[in-house]
């Protein structure tokens, strides 16, 4: 009998549609897999077996009754713990929200439920999505399925690891500076950050409002497109949600034809600071695309050099304000300091001191400082100017090419603890992913092989103009096919077997 956890979402969906397999069976298979390996991986903060099986049974019943269902109906999914799920704990990886049960569903959650995707549980993440390794989770790090001593990337390491470890065929991530794409790169999975505003942020616990974007985490490009299609669409509850036409990303993924596609390799992203094995794999991918008929040129984005600095002003500024609501007054942790009758302010301070981890505090302090009167123009103001310049650079580049390409992450997965005490070194890992968030354009990362020096997966990033997410899917699906031919199968098939710990 086929191991249902090894199927792509599209293949599993086909089996479900044919009546060959039920959603309850598929969901149970994944719950079993979670039970077997998650002790070692720690991809999940909360598993909702009961809820998932109930949703699965409901889909099965509706299918049996002859109802027309969405393409992914019955395919189970994991959701990053930064997205609210009614009745199911949502912590954003923070102690300050330990035990909080949201009374409402995020729009993304609603859409998943409406499309009939049973929610297996909530995945681990860096606290409030602040980090690139999942080591900043208040509930312990997630381990990379390729090597349990290594980081799975972050902040969405839980979602990427769950998919890489076959605990879920699909997962939802969120990407503020690379939190979907970088974990994808280091775990050998596919991650997409759609155009800003394509997927509603309502119910996504905000880190940086102008940068946050939810997106798919999968094992294939087509699966990502299918999930993208389920989640995207205008939401009147999110004022920054896009209205109007959405591109058909599924059709683009199925088309998979780069003949005549103009691809720009970004000069500034790929030289110094990039691991040799990562660079070698990137060059190999570019060559494959060229052979398939793509027209590859080099393109310069001079302002990219300032992007990281601008990001580390904009993001903490917005975060410092967004995280102000965690004050012990209405929900979440409450720490009452010693003393006769502590004031509300004292309770707030004690709670925030105990409830937030170091990285969160670091960014709150940074952002509070950057917004302070007298510093605002020099920091927040300048950072916004960089965003404008960067947007101009991208606009100019997209006059010449249809998509841009770079390695997703400068390195493969590093060891747990290796960069924990060196925030700047960790921040540098996001150099290639951050620009897309600053200008609101879509980006995808797909696995493009293993680095020679460590045998670990590397990632290939494509960027497209806003609202042209379909270009990413078309190009990425092509490259995925070429790489499978080149490597003799999916990259993820080369990952070591995880030992069941149960």
């Amino acid at each position: 009998m086929t191991d249902l956890t090894r199927l792509s979402a599209a293949d599993l969906a086909a089996r479900l549609a044919s009546g060959d397999v039920t959603s309850v069976e598929a969901t149970q298979a994944h719950l079993d897999r979670i039970a077997a390996v998650d002790g070692a991986v720690n991809a999940f903060l909360h598993v909702d077996a009961e809820g998932a099986l109930a949703q699965a049974a409901d889909v099965d019943a509706r299918r049996a009754a002859g109802e027309t269902l969405g393409e992914l109906a019955g395919v189970p999914i994991a959701v990053k713990d930064v997205i609210t799920t009614r009745g199911v704990p949502t912590t954003a990886g923070s102690k300050i929200l330990e035990g909080w049960i949201p009374p409402y569903d995020a729009t993304v959650t609603e859409r998943l439920k409406a499309a009939g995707l049973p929610i297996l549980g909530k995945t681990n993440m860096d606290e409030f999505a602040m980090g690139s390794s999942t080591e900043h989770s208040a509930y312990g790090p997630t381990h990379n399925p390729w090597d349990l001593d290594r980081i799975p990337g972050g902040s969405g390491g839980g979602s990427a690891a769950a998919v890489a470890a076959f605990e879920a065929p699909l997962a939802v991530g969120t990407d503020t500076g690379g939190s979907i794409r970088q974990p994808g790169a280091v775990t050998g999975t596919v991650g997409v950050k759609p155009t800003y505003g394509a997927i509603s942020r309502y119910g996504l616990i905000a880190m940086a409002s102008s940068l946050d974007q939810a997106g798919p985490v999968t094992r294939t490009v087509l699966d990502a497109a299918l999930l993208h299609g389920v989640m995207a669409g205008h939401d009147p509850r999110d004022s920054t949600s896009i209205s109007g036409e959405y591109p058909d990303v599924v059709a683009a993924a199925r088309r998979a034809d780069v003949d005549g596609l103009r691809i720009g390799v970004v000069t500034e992203l790929g030289g110094e600071g990039f691991q040799p094995g990562v660079r070698a794999r990137f060059e190999e991918s570019v060559e494959l695309l060229t052979k398939a008929g793509a027209d590859v040129v080099e393109v310069s984005l001079p302002s990219v050099k300032q992007a990281l600095a601008a990001y580390y002003l904009v993001m903490p500024s917005e975060a410092s304000s967004n995280l102000a609501r965690f004050d012990a007054m209405r929900y979440g942790l409450r720490v009452t300091p010693d003393g006769a009758t502590p004031s509300a302010e004292a309770v707030m301070a004690a709670t925030r001191d105990a409830g937030f981890g170091d990285e969160v505090k670091r960014r709150i302090i940074l952002g509070t400082y950057a917004l302070s009167s007298g510093y605002y123009d020099a920091y927040y103001g300048s950072a916004q100017k960089v965003r404008t310049l960067l947007a101009r650079d991208f606009a100019a580049a997209f006059e010449q090419v249809d998509v841009l390409a770079s390695p997703t992450s400068p390195t493969t997965a590093y060891k747990l603890g290796e960069k924990l005490d060196d925030p700047l070194a960790m921040y540098l890992g996001d150099v290639a992913t951050i620009p897309a968030n600053l200008v609101g354009i879509p980006g995808i990362s797909i696995p493009n092989g293993l680095a020679d020096e460590d045998g670990l997966p590397s990632g290939f990033q494509l960027l497209a103009p806003a609202h042209a997410d379909d270009r990413l899917y078309n190009a990425a699906a092509t490259l995925e096919r070429l790489l499978e031919q080149h490597w003799g199968g999916p990259i993820l098939a080369k990952a070591p077997e995880l030992e069941a710990t149960r």
Binding site: I83, T84, T90, A92, L97, W100, P102, P103, Y104, A106, R201, Y202, G203, L204, I205, A206, A208, S209, S210, P236, R237, D238, S239, T240, S317, E318, S320, S321, A324, R325, F326, D327, M329, R330, Y331, T341, S343, A344, E345, M348, T368, L371, S372, S373, Y376, Y380
Partner: protein, 497 residues
């Protein structure tokens, strides 16, 4: 610190007051500024809340278009420019009644700016320049339990009602108002009163100062006469009646002058106004270092009202206040003085409504500027805060017109209504106030009065009709005032004629 107050006239001899007024108007939209929760006043605590106005993790705001419309109409009525692109901003500070710990407000890109409002004091017109009118959201309402002051300091615990959190507010900020001398306080009062009438006339707010749907902050500083150097200002918060606006200005003038005369310097701080004593006390010290870390609200798109919409809204504005006053004065046949008194007493809208309810202009004015003004003054509240409506005033006047009560009895009806004894009819019945029109009973009372006052009766028989007053008085006394005085007079003259 004990403060030495300088008498007002002395203070004004040496200093000129410089004022700034910030008025918050709570809009009467059906839903809140950024969510769909109801705004009904007086609902049980925390029943009109949702993830957005409670700032639950992940919730996002959406701008209430009706509130934007109201803001634009207020801006237009205040002769403001309406911004082609206006933005919301976050004002960051921690306070338990503010769910997000930032207030979504507007900072350097308000919806309306550069306007003015003409007001009148003692027949003189003053142009108050409006710097800006911007949109923001209200906070929740904290009740501090325990402690003596009802303020957060010293309280045992606090209760927070978030029903008010997120209710749309328009903050209207004046440029500095420099009116020398004793007129300053009256100008401040007249500005708030005129603004209340203007906004009320737009139908966008209940404009009830007693319920907090219109709240004024009074900023005041003094500069020595002949000097151009501005002093340090104090900000007296939430002054909740027109009368209090005037008193707060006067008090702060005397307090500032006391400090300056003693060679001290005024602290830049917020002050609380105390209705009972007419004084202010120190609130929170404010300094230039007070930093709200404003930045553009990334969760909301800019508000960019089309010019067509703005012009369409302009056509919905009622006639300007000055034009309207002139029209009403003509229609009512009021003298300039009548009109000035009516406006000055903050009674214009009350008189309008009373006339609409069927009363003559003179009668409406008589009650609001006479009996009711006296009572409001006695209890220290504004006229519109009295527990009596223009409709009830009209009903009582109706009783007089029907001959059921006389003027004197009517005052007792007002007593009853104000004491919560019910409708005018119920008060008349309950207190037994109806005029006695039984000719037999009246005749007997007149006979008794003649018998009791033979000297007076004789004078009347001798032709001194003016003496009849004494007999009428005696009859009224005997009837406990419940007689038609005109009829009593007729009977007296008949019997002695």
């Amino acid at each position: 610190m004990t403060e030495t107050l300088v008498p007002l006239d002395e203070a004004l001899d040496r200093y000129d007051p410089v004022m700034g007024l910030e008025v918050h108007v709570e809009l009467n939209t059906a839903t809140k500024m950024f969510c769909g929760c109801s705004t009904t006043f007086g609902a049980p605590p925390n029943t009109q809340v949702c993830p957005v106005c409670l700032a639950l993790p992940g919730a996002l705001p959406v701008v209430n278009e009706k509130a934007v419309e109201s803001a634009i109409r207020i801006g237009l009525a205040l002769n403001c420019e309406i911004a082609e692109l206006s933005r919301f901003a976050r004002k960051n500070y921690f306070y338990p009644d503010m769910p997000k710990n930032f207030q979504t407000s507007q900072y350097d890109e308000p919806i309306a700016f550069d306007g003015y409002l003409d007001i009148e004091v003692d027949g003189e017109t003053y142009r108050i320049e409006i710097e800006r009118a911007h949109m923001e959201e209200d906070t929740g309402k904290a009740t501090h339990v325990g402690g003596s002051t009802g303020r957060i300091h010293g309280a045992d615990h606090s209760l927070i009602d978030y029903n008010r959190a997120g209710i749309p507010l328009i903050e209207i900020v004046t440029r500095t108002i420099e009116v020398p001398g004793e007129k300053a306080a009256a100008v401040a009062r007249a500005y708030v009163s005129t603004l209340r009438d203007l906004v009320g006339g737009l139908g966008v707010s209940d404009v009830r100062m007693d319920q907090g749907s219109l709240r004024a902050d009074v900023n005041l500083s003094l500069k020595p006469k002949g000097s151009d150097v501005l002093g340090t200002r104090s900000e007296t918060k939430n002054v909740n009646s027109f009368r209090s606006v005037e008193r707060a200005v006067k008090f702060e003038i005397t307090r500032h002058a006391g400090i300056l005369d003693a060679g001290g310097s005024v602290l830049q701080e917020t002050r609380h106004f105390h209705e009972d004593t007419g004084t202010t006390s120190s609130g929170r010290e404010k300094s230039d270092a007070d930093d709200y870390r404003y930045f553009p609200e990334p969760d909301l798109a800019p508000v960019a009202p089309s010019r067509e919409w703005v012009e369409e809204l302009r056509t919905t504005l009622p006639e300007p206040p000055a034009v309207r006053r002139a029209r009403l004065q003509g229609e009512w046949g009021f003298s300039d003085l009548d009109m000035r008194d009516t406006v000055g007493a903050g009674a214009l809208e009350l008189v309008v409504a009373t006339i609409e309810a069927g009363t003559t202009p003179q009668a409406a004015k008589k009650w609001w500027l006479g009996e009711l003004a006296r009572r409001a003054n006695e209890t220290g509240v504004d006229l519109d805060a009295l527990p009596i409506t223009p409709q009830v005033v009209a009903q009582i006047q109706g009783l007089i017109d029907a001959g059921r009560v006389n003027d004197k009895l009517a005052r007792q009806v007002f007593d009853g209504v104000l004491a919560g004894e019910g409708t005018p009819d119920e008060v008349v019945a309950g207190r037994g106030l109806e005029v006695v029109s039984d000719e037999g009973a009246l005749g007997a009372a007149v006979d008794q009065a003649i018998a009791d006052n033979p000297d007076v009766a004789q004078k009347i028989r001798d032709g001194k009709v003016a003496a009849a007053g004494a007999l009428i008085g005696a009859v009224m006394k005997q009837m406990r005032g419940q007689a038609d005085a005109a009829r009593v007079r007729e009977l007296v003259l008949e019997k002695l004629g």
